[in-house]
Symmetry: C2
Subunit: 318 residues, 2 copies
């Protein structure tokens, strides 16, 4: 473990990610002071009630003053405004990073405004839940998950190592890649899955031949799995699609092309084509479980402890 | 609770559903004798090793002989052959049912071949996991889940009540509807979700700009949710799409239409359209949890006990 340490960490935004960073950084003793900024007085008060930080600021320039680590944890769409606002208040030598799901746009939005005397290393922890807001955070969110850093060309090695060390202390594995590749990887592993989930839940809601109450009742047939992603924060996800437009459209195009082929296979009753696809997709879940990125439990472990007797609970299926 | 009881239950097929029925029926004492049939000698031997039944038969006609309850638990595509094979061996007064995910086709395949002296009531428990085979079964699979019965016109009320009572003993809630409506409801709540899951996993596997190892590593961004459904039994699902073709194509058409509108919203950066959809889909998950069809835990409860200290485990987030 790295012995990385920051004196004052400023969190710009205190939703699921910001609050989880606060809790994890506190638990690990990796920062001395946590300064929290959010524009909403209500959210800021809630963060204070939860004891997430040491100081609370409605003014972001106050929060970043004297901070040696600034982490932007807001929706991607407001990062340019934030960079402009905090730029003149950043301490020389401060490290500025973020947690946004898109990296190319973040660099375009923030880099031009930040002073040369700070180190700017965009980051993205691949971790989250469908919940949002300061109450949603928990210290273990990053445990065993990957965090991707996309340093700009010429960024000194030791700065990247320091931020890497910070995320490792929070429990993450860290990978370095360029922003464009990040945006492609995330378009398929995260953005397209969310878009599809939102879409199918929308389609199901709009049907006139099947009532919403029936969709809900019989959702255990598979539909319910999609509702988790479709319950994610709307502002965050709107911004993701607006700011990773090209990669999202590229992946969506490929998905639709494949789906059209599948539609044709159904129409022409090509059982072999269906069977071939359905067989080769089976192994990928096992690989994800083996890679430690998914729990090794049937049906997401839903049956563990659900309606079972105490005797059955102890006979765990994990 | 109904005091329904059967002397001999014959299970035709002993995969996830068959083995779960065997275990649940045994636990509830709702049958005296469980006769198990499967064509595969290996699977039959495994069922015997697991002690799932009282007698084991490679010949289905032997299994159904003298049975007062016959449950067909095979992929949908082989039901006609089964009906033809067992027809002459069914005891007068026997009840014949099934667990297939499609009901219109099952009726077309089976009803013409079954003798008048048996009662045929198609059924479908909306329960399952991504696992298959006799080892995948567990007694609580049906607990709190819905089971849909689609009796044919003229079926005596008391027979339907008897089968309803059987499923209630296994822990299910039971709903009666007509086969056509069932096939529409399941097309959106189960068949389309599986098709989309299989499709996106296929699309991701085929990308040349993102390696499969990266898809696996960063799957926690959302992709992994889809891999569960895409790990389901290929034969079962091929048969579902071949046998519920019209309803599946109808739902797929609506899904694609909606997705195309969403694609256009991304291309033209219509943030309001994206935000509107992403907002209205959020509440449906809460309704599903409130209806008891989903666990009330963030991120499918994945973080519970995953890499957490004992102290944190006891501070459950459920």
């Amino acid at each position: 473990m790295s012995d990385v340490h920051f004196k004052r960490m400023a969190l710009i935004g205190i939703g699921l990610l910001g609050s989880s960073i606060a809790l994890a950084a506190r638990r690990e003793g990796v920062v001395d002071h946590i300064a929290i900024h959010t524009r909403s007085a209500e959210t800021l008060a809630r963060a204070e009630e939860l004891g997430l930080g040491d100081s609370y600021h409605q003014d972001s320039t106050e929060a970043v003053t004297d901070a040696d680590l600034v982490i932007v944890c807001t929706p991607v769409g407001v990062c340019e405004v934030i960079a402009k606002t905090i730029a003149d208040h950043l301490k020389p030598g401060a490290m500025v990073t973020d947690v946004g799901s898109v990296k190319g746009s973040i660099i375009k939005q923030m880099a031009p405004h930040l002073p040369d005397h700070v180190s700017f290393i965009p980051g993205h922890p691949i971790a989250g839940t469908e919940d949002s807001g300061p109450d949603a955070g928990f210290a273990d969110l990053f445990g065993g998950r990957w965090c991707i850093l996309t340093p700009l060309e010429g960024e000194p090695e030791e700065n990247v190592a320091r931020l890497k060390g910070f995320w490792e202390r929070l429990g993450s594995n860290v990978e370095i890649m360029d922003a464009t590749h990040h945006d492609h990887v995330l378009a398929i592993t995260s953005h397209l899955p969310h878009l599809i989930a939102y879409n199918i839940v929308g389609t199901a809601s709009d049907l006139e031949m099947v009532r919403n109450s029936e969709v809900i009742k019989y959702s255990a047939g598979g539909f319910r799995d999609f509702t988790r992603l479709a319950a994610s924060d709307p502002t965050m996800w709107r911004d993701v699609f607006l700011h990773n437009k090209e990669a999202a459209l590229e992946m969506l195009g490929r998905f639709t092309e494949d789906l059209t082929a599948l539609q044709r296979a159904i129409r022409w009753e090509d059982g072999d084509a269906l069977f071939d696809l359905f067989s080769r997709t089976r192994s990928i879940r096992r690989s994800i479980i083996d890679a430690g990125q998914e729990i090794d439990a049937s049906d997401f472990g839903r049956h563990i402890g659900e309606g079972e007797s105490e005797a059955e609970k102890s006979n765990t299926r994990l």
